[in-house]
């Protein structure tokens, strides 16, 4: 079965994880994505995307630190896996190929 490319939100989440040093917790990721896009990012969507990425093997996760959180619950930390990194690079190359030469077209128009 053919492997599908990364979705837009998947890409954004992986990039946010990468910016945080390849490992992080979802709330700072949401904050980072909002700061960069200037739009509200749905926490619910990020929650789901992270778990889907984990199902696909692009990230992994572990639970940590029940005592020091505001809610008193454990947090799940996600880590970018090698496959995830590879897929990000692939996505970037694809985007560059798609955009290649567009500037000259625009200038003509």
């Amino acid at each position: 079965m053919g492997r599908k490319g990364l979705g837009e939100l998947e890409q954004q989440v992986l990039l946010a994880l990468l910016r945080m040093g390849g490992e992080g917790y979802s709330v700072p990721m949401v904050v980072e994505m909002e700061a960069r896009s200037g739009q509200e990012v749905s926490q619910a969507a990020v929650f789901i995307v992270l778990r889907r990425l984990e199902d696909k093997g692009l990230v992994s996760s572990r639970m940590e630190g029940a005592g020091d959180t505001a809610s008193g619950r454990e947090r799940r930390y996600f880590k970018l896996e090698a496959e995830g990194l590879r897929r990000l690079e692939e996505a970037r190359r694809l985007a560059e190929r798609l955009w290649d030469g567009i500037d000259s077209v625009w200038e003509e128009g």
Partner: protein, 880 residues
């Protein structure tokens, strides 16, 4: 104090816990909490709370759309995926989708509910063991069927050999007295073997034996479980506690020997007490109050049993000739269902036909709407075909989509039918029997599936096959410009609209007829003055007043005391009250017009009324004199007063005064003389036939109606009337209180229900037909807007262009109406017997329906056409 995020709404929590494992729910809430802390620190608590709730609400939606459930394998089957895709597709056009699902669901629900009723009445046997062996034995004297007398039953019981059992029952009501409280209850007097015949075994206790049926034997009764718990105070789990209790009905004590099970069938379903009958030795053949049931013996054919019945009747006829001469009347036997069901077939057929038409209309409408939808997606579908999807696949996709609609409609229908099944016994239980047996069983659900599938075939396949592009390129070429597009599709759509109109006509005609009938009923002359009338029933315990003279005196007393109350103009007493409560019909032989040998004696409604009854009702005296108190003495010469119908029936163009007759088929005894003729009063319901009414002098019965004419509002008198009656006999319950208006209104309950139902159905039909006409015109105009613009640009007047568009749609409407008129000719006769003073084929109603439909469809097609004409041709042409 540490702040906390708002509480999670219950419904979100409920949904999340169904979509996620509980560990995941905890994680999600933990993350939201952390987000809340972050937002609170940066934007304040108000914003943090808002964001928190917003995110919470997103969770269920995202979880459904994002298809993760960690416990569930991430890969769903392709079939399921395509269903999900179809659902998403339909959800993009919510108005269209919901209108199809609801209208088709309504049609399916109505059909399902009526089928469930018909299933019970026509196909399911009565809920008794071996019910096909159960019969109703009666006297057949066409067009009437009479019950048996005690003489008949005793002869039958002694001589018959074809039945394993016969039983008789007399349906009465009685006054149940419990300490100080007394009330009327339905009491059936049964012969031993009644329950054995039906196969009903008491929940506790036993049934009566022959010793208890013998005159002078111990008085025994069985009661229902409901009666035992509510009236005798026995706990439901210890019904045996009721056994041996003594109950007082009409001042006679009965020992309770058994309690019936919770459900014991439709016969006597509203009866609480089944007392054992004790026959006295009869002096004459009548009266005929015994309902006789039989269970055919094993291996005996109905025909053989009928032969024997006729033979027994012939044998006893000579013995009782002095009190019964109807030689042509025979004994006959029909399935017990005919007794239980009565005359309800016509109503059920009418309802079935109505909802069937509605379903057809809803289905056609759905086909038309879907066709429009598919056409608007032509480009998308053409792209799919161009990209390699086969046409079959596109058709399959469309068919799957419509199958989902049919399925959803089916679900709505089943839900609706389920609701109707629960409501029907309450609303219509009084005139449609066995509604409590209606359930959505396997056969009914299979029927629903079948009609849902048929309607899917109609709307799904028409739209997907006719709507999908033939070849990829043509669809692409047409693209947004649809001037040349889909001529065959247009034809199909026009045909669908014609069908919708054609189906709407009979429904509208039926509702027009029933509405006219209802208006006639409401304005019908009941024959008495409605305003200021109050009536009620007083029930004396027969055992307390054994002497007729004593009762007579009591009623005179009642009249005098009530008449002396301030505000009361007059008071009367009778065993009947208009417009539907008269139960006694008598046969008689006229002195001047003796019944020829071999013919049935005339029968008329026979009312026992006191001297002031007719005056209190406000019935005009037309000829002769009214009844007087002197007529009520036992030694007074027998006289009667008759109504106009009776006088005209027997003595057209002559005076009925002074004519004489003998009652009840007696050949000897005194003649009864007609002394007066009064106006007609309705006793058998509006439209009911009584063959005229005879008023005989009051004989002091125990459970009469008392009628009171008040100067003002009669309701204000009720308290003082009750008080007077209580003073006379505190144990006599006062029931069935009704003003004149209430009497009329309650007699119209059944036609009113039917009227409301048919008008609602036809309003829906009209609405759907209008949507259809509007849709097809709008689409045609949309397709021809370039054409219209060119005509307008070239100087065509808007009027002419408008006329052109409207003409083509109206042609379809008119064709539909023509077909509809023919359909209505077949449909409206189903109303026969249910409409009052209207011909079910009334051409005026049909004409009015056609005019209404023409006007409405003209409006529906003018609107889009007018809009097209008003648009600026230049703009339209530029767009294209």
């Amino acid at each position: 104090m540490t702040r906390r995020p708002p509480a999670t709404p219950h419904w979100i929590d409920w949904l999340m816990r169904r979509l996620l494992t509980s560990a995941d729910v905890e994680e999600a809430l933990g993350e939201l909490h952390d987000l809340w802390v972050h937002v609170e620190a940066t934007a304040g608590v108000v914003e943090a709370d808002r964001r928190y709730l917003r995110e919470l609400r997103r969770y269920p939606l995202r979880l459904v759309g994002g298809r993760i459930r960690r416990a569930r394998p991430p890969e769903v089957g392709p079939a399921l995926r395509s269903v999900a895709r179809n659902i998403r597709g339909l959800a993009r056009t919510p108005v269209l989708t919901s209108s199809i699902v609801l209208t088709v669901g309504l049609g399916l629900g109505g059909c399902t509910a009526i089928f469930a009723v018909a299933d019970v009445l026509f196909f399911r046997p009565l809920p008794y063991p071996d019910a096909d062996r159960l019969v109703w034995i009666h006297t057949e004297s066409p067009p009437n069927r009479f019950n048996f007398s005690v003489v008949d039953f005793q002869a039958l019981e002694a001589q018959q050999t074809r039945f394993s059992r016969v039983a008789a029952v007399q349906a009465l009501s009685g006054t149940f007295v419990d300490e100080d409280v007394s009330e009327r209850v339905s009491v059936w007097r049964i012969t031993p073997g009644f329950f054995e015949l039906l196969g009903i075994v008491p929940a506790v206790g036993r049934t009566a034996g022959s010793r208890e049926a013998a005159s002078g034997g111990p008085r025994t009764a069985l009661v229902t479980a409901a009666f035992a718990t509510t009236r005798l105070g026995v706990p439901p789990d210890d019904l045996a506690g009721a056994l041996g209790t003594s109950i007082e009905v009409d001042d006679v004590s009965y020992e309770v020997i058994g309690v019936l099970p919770e459900r014991s069938g439709p016969l006597g379903a509203r009866t609480q007490v089944f007392a054992t009958q004790q026959f006295q030795a009869p002096e004459r053949r009548g009266p005929f109050f015994q309902i006789v049931l039989g269970r055919l013996a094993d291996g005996v054919e109905t025909a053989a049993a009928a032969d024997e019945l006729r033979a027994i009747n012939r044998r006893i006829f000579p013995l009782w000739r002095s009190s019964y001469q109807d030689e042509r009347a025979t004994w006959a036997v029909v399935p017990l269902g005919e007794l239980v069901h009565g005359n309800v077939d016509g109503l059920v057929v009418l309802l079935a036909a109505s909802v069937g038409l509605l379903l057809l209309l809803a289905t056609t409408n759905a086909a038309s709407l879907l066709l429009t939808r598919v056409r608007s997606r032509r480009r998308e579908l053409a792209v799919r075909i161009a990209l390699g999807a086969s046409r079959a696949r596109v058709v399959g996709h469309l068919a799957a989509e419509s199958a989902l609609l049919a399925l959803a409609g089916g679900l709505v229908g089943v839900l609706l039918a389920w609701g109707l099944a629960a409501v029907m016994p309450i609303v219509a239980g009084s005139y449609i029997p066995r509604l409590d047996e209606v359930s959505l069983g396997g056969r009914t659900l299979a029927f629903t599936a079948l009609i849902a599938a048929s309607s899917w075939l109609l709307f799904g396949l028409v739209s997907s096959v006719r709507g999908s592009p033939d070849a990829g390129l043509s669809g692409l070429r047409d693209g947004g410009r649809s001037a040349t597009e889909g001529a065959p599709t247009q034809r199909v759509q026009r045909l669908l609209v014609a069908v919708q109109i054609a189906v709407a006509v009979p429904l509208l005609a039926a509702s027009g007829l029933i509405a006219t009938s209802m208006r006639n009923l409401q304005s019908a002359e009941p024959g008495f003055e409605v305003d200021g009338l109050l009536s009620l029933r007083v029930s004396l315990a027969a055992a307390r007043y054994p002497d007729a003279e004593q009762r007579q005196g009591l009623w005179w007393n009642v009249e005098e005391r009530l008449a002396s109350l301030p505000g009361v103009l007059s008071v009367g007493v009778s065993d009947s009250r208009p417009p539907i409560e008269a139960y006694n019909y008598n046969n008689y032989d006229l002195e001047d017009r003796p019944t020829p040998v071999g013919e049935n004696q005339p029968v008329a409604c026979w009312i026992s009324a006191d001297a002031s009854y007719l005056e209190t009702l406000g019935v005009p005296l037309l000829e002769g004199r009214s009844l007087t108190r002197d007529d009520e003495y036992p030694d007074a010469p027998p006289v009667i007063v008759v109504d106009e119908t009776w006088a005209r029936r027997h003595f057209p163009g002559e005076s009925a005064i002074g004519r004489r007759l003998r009652e009840g088929g007696a050949t000897s005894g005194p003649w009864t003389t007609v002394v007066g003729v009064v106006g007609d009063v309705t006793y058998a319901g509006f439209g009911g036939e009584t063959g005229g009414t005879v008023y005989a002098p009051w004989t002091g019965l125990t459970q009469p109606f008392v009628v009171v004419r008040a100067a003002g509002d009669p309701v204000t008198l009720l308290a003082s009337i009750r008080q007077e009656l209580r003073a006379l006999d505190p144990t006599a319950p006062v029931t069935d209180v009704a003003t004149g208006e209430a009497l009329i209104s309650s007699s119209l309950a059944e036609p009113r229900h039917l009227t409301v139902l048919l008008i609602a159905l036809s309003a829906l039909a009209l609405g759907l037909a209008v949507i259809g006409v509007y849709g097809v015109t709008a689409h045609a105009v949309q397709g021809r807007r370039g054409d219209i613009a060119v005509r307008l640009a070239l100087g065509g007047t808007p009027r002419r262009v408008l006329g052109m568009v409207v003409r083509s749609t109206m042609a379809i409407s008119l064709a539909g109406m023509l077909a509809g008129v023919l359909a209505a000719r077949a449909f409206t006769p189903l109303l026969g017997g249910m409409v009052y003073r209207v011909d079910p084929r009334d051409p005026a109603t049909l004409a009015a329906v056609v005019v209404v439909l023409a006007v409405v469809s003209l409006a529906a097609c003018c609107l889009p056409a007018w809009r097209a004409v008003r648009s600026d041709p230049a703009t339209v042409l530029r767009q294209d």
